[in-house]
């Protein structure tokens, strides 16, 4: 108990009156930050909505050229990583330091796996000449006059998945910091707010992907195709 009280007062910043106030403030702060992220990605979703409405067939053909099974696998990887993140927060609540570290590490590994798969995918796009802005761009299944419109799809694909991947990289960085701190014994049942709040961020990045996947990969898809 005394250990907890001491840890609590050590972590309590001077501007706050109680540990509870501090935790509340941190959590509210992260939620507000996530709302800003929704607005941030929102601009790209708006551009996507406009161009998909204008060029539905082009978007459908372009979407079909993406590797849906790999995208689906990546979706599962992220969902698992959110699960391990929740388990890390749970470990924090219970004060199981080793478990905090374990689950954070697993989350990080899943994150790296996702990024690795993404890199493979992007490389595939490069080899198939689906990189917009390059003279060699060509999407099969569409005539010459619609290649420009197809480039719009791929521009959005790279911009949106790129922005998402950047957020994953930042998330990975945050996880690494947390792992380091957790190994030094920083977190326990009375104080695990950074893990909690990082969890919110990680889940958010996951949810963005849950929207990106069907919008980019699954236009006009049918099972077995």
């Amino acid at each position: 108990m005394a250990e907890h009280a001491q840890a609590e007062s050590l972590a309590l910043r001077v501007q706050f009156d109680t540990a509870e106030q501090q935790k509340d403030a941190s959590t509210l702060g992260m939620w507000i930050f996530l709302i800003t992220e929704i607005m941030f990605f929102g601009g790209m979703f708006a551009a996507y909505t406009v161009y998909r409405t204008w060029y539905p067939t082009v978007f459908a053909v372009a979407s079909t050229s993406l590797n849906a099974p790999i995208g689906a696998a990546n979706t599962c990887i992220l969902l698992f990583s959110s699960f391990t993140m929740v388990m890390a927060v749970r470990a924090g609540q219970l004060g199981h330091q080793k478990m905090i570290v374990l689950f954070l590490v697993l989350t990080l590994l899943f994150g790296f796996a996702f990024l690795g798969v993404k890199a493979v995918e992007w490389n595939e796009k490069f080899e198939e000449h689906h990189i917009p802005g390059q003279a060699a761009f060509h999407l099969e299944g569409l005539p010459a006059t619609q290649q420009g419109n197809a480039q719009l799809f791929f521009s959005l694909y790279f911009a949106m998945t790129g922005l998402h991947a950047l957020h994953m990289v930042i998330g990975a960085g945050i996880l690494m910091v947390l792992i380091w701190q957790a190994r030094k014994g920083r977190f326990h049942a009375a104080y695990y707010t950074p893990v909690d709040v990082a969890g919110l961020y990680w889940h958010f990045v996951d949810i963005i992907w849950i929207f990106l996947f069907p919008l980019l990969y699954l236009i006009d898809r049918h099972l077995g195709k």
Binding site: R13, V14, Q15, F16, D17, Q21, D24, A25, L28, G29, I32, F33, I35, T36, E37, M39, F40, F41, G42, G43, M44, A46, A47, V50, Y51, W54, Y55, P132, G133, Q134, G148, N149, Q151, L152, F154, S155, L156, F158, A159, G162, L163
Partner: protein, 541 residues
């Protein structure tokens, strides 16, 4: 009496000396002063660009600088002024300094993020400064595509990156303020006991947090198109250049409310303090701030009436633009009513407050012209618009900012500014401002387009008047620079409450102690309860 000599006791300014104590400070008051220094530099940079513009426009021909240089001047004038002066100004200087004190807190919720916000502004400023020195950017602060993505040869990316980074400064400040107001109010400080300055900054923070990210992603899209030749706005690939305009203005319209709402908050404080009366219609003024923040997000299309947007979209945006005018009108009426049966003095901050109300009224009413579809077709992209927004941003916000600086200078520095010189400069600014910008309304209706390096001869007289006004205005702005610095050493020592004003900031010493209060205050009455202040007979002046 709480008159205390600055030298004798510990306060936030002498709590630590040396560069590190400033550059690594977590004290919101010091951070406010760091911002003050930074934005003042950008103000004078933007002002220098404005000077060159106005001198060039003395003659109809483009003979002072080349066209390319002129285009860079107006672009960089706006970038410096909007992103590195106006948007931070009141929230990051006065808000940072006083919001925690006004709610009875020791600091903001996240002091380290507050410092990070300042560093982000500086970093963004350095990128933009680099772009300006390396050759400049000539796209206009609005960066319309495809000119900015495919045609301009200037330092578009560096400038855009500078703005992007500064945007995060704005977002984090907003986030900090929102959490602070929600979670850090002193015991007894209910929402409806908050000073209106806090309400305004809260509403501003909502806009900063919701709107700025859209600017950020717009810049990202601009970046990838210009650098990687991705085709988001490229008409050759079926992209829509007007989509850029929608995304850009979705932020940039609310941005103007980021610039004016805090100013309105300052005016509420000044009008009340120098009438020795509570603001008339407190809850209406408080809610009008939030209403402006919300409605401000719904009107961006009024910048696109002639851009190729559908007629019906135009109708909707025109209608909503009239809506957003009403809460501002409510404020103006309430401020005026506050004066009724008040006890009014003419200290410099009050002069600025009067100036604000008058000039904001004119600027706001000219917004009604622009919201009218039929008139906007004629005056959009002309000097009418330039005059309109300068009336609000310069005649409005900058006057409120100066008023607030004067009002709170004694609290921040422990020194009084020289009242005579200050009143004179307020008058000079008021006169210079009107001479600069009123002729521009006429020029706009006559048809002089904006961003014009050279213009037809018949517009010269009005341009000369405008430049004459600008030189007067420049003098007016230099004066406070000089006497504020002078006052730091030679100004009268300030008491805790030189104006006999209400508000928790006046219950603590001038300058305040490191953690703002010796003891956390317990709040028992509303923000503008003068009976208590007068009851304590705090020495005034």
């Amino acid at each position: 009496m709480i008159t205390t000599a600055v030298q004798e006791r510990e306060h936030y300014l002498n709590a630590g000396y040396g560069l590190k104590s400033w550059l690594l400070t977590k004290d919101h008051k010091r951070i406010g002063l760091l911002y003050l220094a930074t934005i003042t530099l950008f103000f004078f940079l933007g002002g220098a660009f404005a000077t060159l513009i106005r001198v060039e426009l003395l003659t109809p021909q483009g003979d002072l600088v080349s066209s390319e240089t002129y285009n860079k001047l107006f672009t960089m004038h706006a970038v410096a002024m909007i992103f590195f002066f106006m948007i931070p100004s009141i929230p990051a200087v006065l808000g940072n300094f006083f919001l925690p004190i006004m709610i009875g807190a020791r600091d903001l919720a996240f002091p380290k993020i507050n410092l990070l916000s300042w560093y982000l502004l500086v970093a963004g400023g350095l990128f933009s400064l680099f772009a300006m020195i390396a050759g400049g950017v000539d796209t206009g602060w609005t960066f319309y595509t495809p000119y900015s993505t495919s045609y301009s040869n200037g330092w578009v990316i560096a400038t855009a990156l500078g703005i992007f980074i500064a945007g995060f400064s704005s977002i984090l400040t907003g986030l900090n303020f929102i959490v602070t107001v929600h979670r850090m109010r002193a015991p007894g400080m209910t929402w409806f006991r908050l000073p209106l300055f806090v309400w305004s900054n809260y509403a501003t923070s909502l806009i900063q947090v919701l709107g700025t990210p859209v600017l950020a992603v717009t810049i990202v899209l601009l970046f990838v198109e210009r650098v990687f030749h991705l085709g988001i706005f490229d008409p050759a690939r079926g992209g829509d250049p007007v989509l850029f305009q929608h995304l850009f203005w979705f932020y940039s319209h609310p941005a103007v409310y980021i610039m004016v709402l805090p100013a309105m908050g300052v005016i509420s404080e000044l009008i009340s303090a120098y009438s020795r009366k509570p603001v008339f219609g407190y809850s209406f003024v408080a809610f009008s701030s939030v209403a402006i923040a919300v409605l401000g997000f719904l009107v961006w299309g009024h910048h696109l009436f002639v851009s190729g947007q559908s007629l019906y979209a135009g109708l909707v945006f025109s209608f909503l633009s009239y809506f957003v005018a009403i809460p501002s009108a409510i404020k103006v009426f309430n401020w005026t009513a506050t004066l009724y049966k008040g006890s009014i003095t003419y200290h410099t901050p009050m002069l600025y407050a009067f100036g604000f109300i008058g000039l904001f009224t004119v600027g706001g009413l000219t917004g009604l012209f622009l919201a009218a579809l039929g008139i906007d077709v004629h005056v959009t992209d002309t000097y009418f618009v330039v005059a309109h927004f300068h009336y609000i941003m310069v005649g409005g916000t900058i006057m409120a900012y100066l008023g607030g600086l004067h009002y709170w200078w004694p609290k921040m520095t422990g020194r009084m500014y020289p009242e005579g010189w200050a009143r004179l400069s307020a008058l000079v600014i008021f006169l210079g401002f009107n001479l600069t910008f009123f002729p521009q309304f006429i020029l706009g209706y006559l048809g002089m387009p904006r961003r014009y390096h050279a213009y037809p001869e018949e517009f010269q007289v009005l341009n000369v008047l405008s430049t004459a006004g600008a030189s007067v205005l420049a003098v007016g702005y230099l004066m406070p620079m000089i006497y504020f610095i002078w006052s730091l050493r030679y100004g009268k020592i300030a008491p805790a409450n030189p104006w006999g004003a209400t508000g928790l900031e006046w219950r603590t010493a001038s300058p305040p102690p490191l953690h703002n209060f010796d003891e956390t205050p317990i709040v028992t009455h509303g923000a503008y309860d003068y009976t208590t202040v007068m009851g304590e007979e705090i020495e005034v002046g």
